[in-house]
């Protein structure tokens, strides 16, 4: 199945491709709604995801200038209160002055585009830029796992490629960038990934090869993953004849990157569009 000319590669769809090419095809090319449960216990997963969204919004409110007290009053759930306190007391700092929250960047890459939405970009033009990603997973994942995630490679790479206008018209030097994963589970122990020219070159090649692989698959076949344990957390398992029930979640930070992780999608945009 052909990849549309206007297709944008993101951390979610690339990670899905890495995990299972067939899932990539079903989810992003065929856009097949397949409403089976991904992981159990579904309501707990859903609740955690919704709280995670609320937490991200609270930070957005705070970074947009609302007072911490006003924002704190909107949280009554114990986890949310704890996370908020952790954010106020242990958020990574010092961060550069200029803040961009929930900011999207995209750039041409080969015949397609790359796209990413950043939780927080903190920028001192001409000096440095810090990418902060808030993680509300139940446990902090190992650094080696994080370093393998597509997000860790794509986010700094794209900031170099597409961040020129945020840096007085000059592309950031890789050495000026840092990616910080901050965890509600261990707020005092964020994981920092400084960037480098060498890493940029490696990431460029990695993303180029990966996308070439996707394009190649689109002209031949999107195979099922060889790691069948992945299917236990995939909503398409019945379509692929690879299992019946969803497995208990094995929480890691990667889950929350995908807005569909619970199999329950939120689309706030749609509400207003339906209404009148």
């Amino acid at each position: 199945m052909q990849i549309p000319a206007n297709f944008a590669f993101s951390q979610n769809n690339l990670q899905d491709y890495v995990d299972c090419p067939r899932r990539f095809e079903l989810r992003y090319l065929k856009k097949l709604a397949w409403p089976a449960i991904r992981s159990e216990p579904i309501l707990a997963v859903e609740r955690h995801m919704l709280l995670g969204e609320r937490f991200h919004r609270m930070i957005q409110q705070h970074q947009s200038g609302l007072s911490a007290e006003l924002i704190a009053a909107t949280a009554s759930e114990p986890e949310l209160i704890d996370w908020w306190q952790a954010y106020l007391s242990a958020a990574p700092e010092p961060l550069p002055e200029r803040r961009l929250v929930e900011h999207t960047l995209s750039a041409p890459f080969g015949n397609y585009r790359l796209i990413a939405k950043y939780d927080l970009l903190a920028i001192a033009p001409g000096e440095r830029a810090v990418i902060v990603d808030w993680k509300t997973s139940l446990r902090k994942p190992k650094r080696t796992l994080l370093s393998r995630r597509i997000q860790t490679r794509l986010y700094p790479f794209l900031l170099v490629e597409a961040g020129k206008l945020l840096n007085n018209g000059t592309a950031f030097k890789p050495e000026q960038l840092e990616l910080i994963y901050w965890f509600t589970a261990e707020p005092q122990k964020p994981e920092r990934f400084p960037y480098s020219t060498d890493q940029l070159d490696q990431d460029r090649k990695f993303l180029h090869d990966l996308i070439a692989d996707v394009v190649n698959a689109s002209e031949t076949d999107f195979p099922l993953t060889g790691d069948e344990s992945m299917c236990r957390y995939c909503n398409y398992r019945s379509l692929c004849d690879r299992g019946v029930s969803a497995a208990e979640r094995e929480d890691d930070a990667a889950d929350e990157d995908n807005g569909e992780s619970s199999g329950f999608d939120l689309d706030f945009e749609q509400i207003s569009e339906i209404a009148f």
Binding site: P4, A5, N6, A8, K31, L32, A33, W34, P35, A36, I37, I42, L43, R54, R57, Q60, Q61, S64, G65, L66, L70, I71, A73, T74, S76, H103, T104, L105, S106, A107, P108, N111, Y112, R113, E161, A162, K164, L165, L166, G169, N235, R237, S238, L239, D241, V244, S245, A246, G263, F264, D265, F268, E269, Q270, I271, S272, E273, I274, A275, F276
Partner: protein, 705 residues
């Protein structure tokens, strides 16, 4: 993704300095939006940060050309513009600034986050607050479905918000305009009472329906210094397209905001205003012209051939009472009149003619649209079925479809009733038979009927399906063991569920789908359409659960039971939105005429169905609301007379037909049936107009004109 060459007029807009305000107007199809898209591209190429560009349209479908542009692979690297409607902007801003404004907005629990209502959940709460009043005899003289009354009361609230008057003033406006039987004014008062109760309930429970979102944005957020500063910092450039289709409150906000933008481009479609029934106010929008530094006119159509342009002129004059009625020889080549005796005959003819165009003339299916004033399920089904029979790909577009009438959804709801005996919502053998047809892929009606007759027990609620082993061997053989085996798996799954702790309804449905119905051998396994319907149903239940969890907890009722009861009452799952922003496939479009206009995608061939129908001309029967009286154009104390009604309908028809003709490149088929869908003869003003056109054509051919 080839680009076309711009005209000098378009180039002027594209290359104009990136400062100051510009207003361009012109009829549809003359390249205004294309010029604006070109300008957007140039702005980004010239180094304007894309995230500082706000693209505002009244409806998401109208923003499709901009969305396409920003997804092109060759768009320069950087941020992305915001493409949004007022509703979207209001909601984003509310989500961000809720803590700052909620306290002064009358909400009882302003410290807690709000709950955003969908159309469906708003209707649910309206039913909840209004039902006791119905029991007391409110609206009892109105012979109309109760849910339509709910939606009209919500519509009134929305109109008050988007037009900009107090929601408590709805009945006064409606009563002042009414000159008919006095008892109608009581209905207006009752509708006002329902609206007031609904608003009070929303404030009490932190619920935000569309009307409250717009009111909060316009009256609390927009005047706030903090918010205005945030929005002004965020957005430095504006492109506001199809402003004629927008509501006064948006146009008012833009009026105030305009001086703060570094650059702005406002685009006005002349002769449009198709969303007037939703509060669109072209006249108010047009006043924005006066505030702009530069104005420009586009006039040359890139869509319609001269024949169709002349047909449009002729038709406009025919529909205007005092205009001179003439037609040119060229206009006669722009249309064909296709009369049939009966409705099905008309549908057959349309399908055959479409097939001829596609198969013999080589017309791509995507270049054909079949439009009608309304698109009933029956019409949609019969057209799609016939087109498919001719080997023609077709797609239907309606703003909403009845979810509960989809066979897959009915099947799921039947199984939900069987699985929850305590809810006391029994299923019938007919329901079970219909469900089996969906569940077991290769079962036929006879076998499904046999199973439901022999193995379904209405009395035994704890075990509604009996074992296949109880069936006599010869009958087992007739039903087949393969079907029997799958029936037994269904039975086992249901029994396991009944014996365990009940799940939330959406969770039940998702498990049922994934663990059984979508497994190999079952009917949903490779049925993508059924999977799509299931996804929509689950989404509907899920939104209902999230919104009602807090308010239902107090009553002790199960959310799932409440949902199923509301489905039975027609409040929920009555409609759902089709997926948005899908690129149009190369398929014949079957759509209501207004939906086609709002897609704003011209085609080479149009088929206008049932041109004799009054639906092309008159408004829907809406006894509790009135789009004209509740608009800003109407003087609040003036009476609405038959003359007003006639001229409004006439104007609607003229606008609709002009809009359709302006979106046709080659030819229009005017299809009439002497006997309509309901078996009666109908001759509406569109048909009279067409007859006038035919008369003029005959006179022209006879040399009399």
């Amino acid at each position: 993704m080839d680009r076309f060459a711009y005209t000098p007029v378009q180039e002027q807009i594209i290359a104009a300095p990136l400062a100051g305000s510009r207003y361009i107007s012109g009829p549809p199809g003359c390249g205004k939006t294309s010029a604006a898209v070109g300008r957007l591209r140039r702005m980004i190429e010239q180094g304007i940060t894309a995230e500082s560009i706000l693209i505002l349209t009244p409806q998401r479908s109208l923003a499709a050309p901009y969305a396409r542009e920003i997804s092109r692979p060759d768009l320069p690297a950087g941020g992305l513009p915001t493409i949004v409607t007022l509703g979207g902007l209001a909601q984003r801003t509310l989500q961000l600034f809720w803590p700052a404004v909620a306290g002064s907005s009358g909400f009882r629990h302003s410290e807690l986050p709000p709950t955003y209502l969908t159309l469906e959940t708003a209707q649910y709460y309206m039913a909840k607050v209004a039902a006791p009043l119905f029991e007391r005899g409110y609206f009892e003289q109105l012979v109309i479905d109760r849910n339509r009354l709910y939606s009209q009361i919500l519509d009134n609230l929305n109109k008050a918000a988007v037009v900009g008057f107090a929601h408590t003033d709805i009945s006064r406006r409606l009563k002042n305009a009414w000159i008919g039987k006095p008892e109608q004014t009581i209905h207006y008062e009752q509708a006002q009472e329902c609206a007031n109760l609904f608003r009070a309930y929303c404030l009490e429970h932190n619920l935000l329906d569309y009307s409250l979102q717009i009111e909060l944005f316009a009256q609390q957020l927009w005047p706030s210094h903090l918010v205005r500063q945030y929005l002004s910092n965020q957005y430095r450039h504006l492109i506001y397209d199809n402003l004629e289709e927008d509501v006064p409150v948006t146009q008012d906000i833009i009026r105030e905001w305009l001086p703060a933008f570094d650059s702005s481009l406002l685009i006005f479609d002349q002769g449009a205003g198709y969303r007037a029934f939703l509060g669109a106010d072209p006249a108010n929008g047009e006043t924005l012209r006066e505030l702009c530094d530069q104005t420009g006119e586009f006039s040359q159509s890139f869509v319609t051939e001269p024949a169709l342009q002349e047909l449009g002129n002729a038709f406009s004059n025919i529909l205007r009472p005092k205009a001179e009625k003439t037609v040119t020889p060229r206009a006669l080549t722009g249309y064909s009149f296709a009369p049939s005796r009966f409705y099905p005959e008309m549908i057959d003819w349309v399908a055959a003619e479409v097939a001829r165009l596609v198969h013999e003339e080589g017309v791509p299916p995507g270049e054909i649209a079949i439009v009608s004033p309304f698109l009933s399920d029956a019409l949609r089904h019969s057209l799609m079925h016939r087109l498919l029979g001719h080997g023609v790909t077709a797609r239907s577009h309606r703003p909403s479809r009845s979810l509960r009438d989809e066979p897959a959804a009915r099947c799921l709801l039947t199984l939900a009733r069987l699985a929850h005996p305590l809810w006391n919502l029994p299923a019938t053998p007919q329901d079970v038979r219909a469900a089996l047809l969906q569940i077991i892929g290769d079962i036929d009606l006879v076998r499904a009927d046999l199973i439901s007759a022999m193995l379904f027990s209405q009395r035994n609620k704890q075990a509604p399906l009996n074992s296949f082993d109880l069936v006599k061997p010869e009958m087992q053989e007739r039903i087949t063991f393969s079907i029997g085996e799958r029936f037994m798996r269904l039975r086992a799954w249901l029994m396991d569920y009944i014996e365990s702790e009940p799940a939330e309804l959406d969770v039940f449905l998702a498990r049922l789908f994934g663990e059984l119905l979508a497994q190999p051998g079952f009917g949903f396994h490779d049925n993508y359409e059924a999977a799509g319907v299931t996804a929509r149903l689950i989404e509907s239940v899920q939104k209902f659960r999230r919104v009602t969890e807090a308010t239902l907890q107090a009553t002790g009722r199960s959310i799932g039971q409440e949902y199923l009861m509301m489905v039975a009452d027609g409040v929920l799952a009555a409609q759902y939105l089709l997926p948005a922003d899908e690129p149009p496939p190369d398929a014949v479009l079957v759509a209501p005429a207004y939906s086609f206009l709002m897609i704003n995608q011209p085609v080479r061939f149009q088929f206008w169905l049932d041109v004799g129908s009054l639906g092309w001309w008159e408004r829907l029967y809406q006894p509790l609301t009135h789009p004209h009286v509740l608009s800003r154009r109407w003087q609040p104390d003036k009476a609405w007379t038959d003359v007003d009604d006639f001229s409004a309908n006439q104007e609607t028809l003229q606008r609709l037909t002009s809009g359709l003709i302006a979106r046709c490149r080659e030819h229009i088929y005017l299809c009439a049936a002497r006997v309509n869908e309901r078996g009666t003869e109908e001759k509406g003003p569109l048909l009279y107009g067409i007859q006038s056109l035919l008369r003029l054509a005959r006179e022209l051919e006879a040399g009399h004109v």
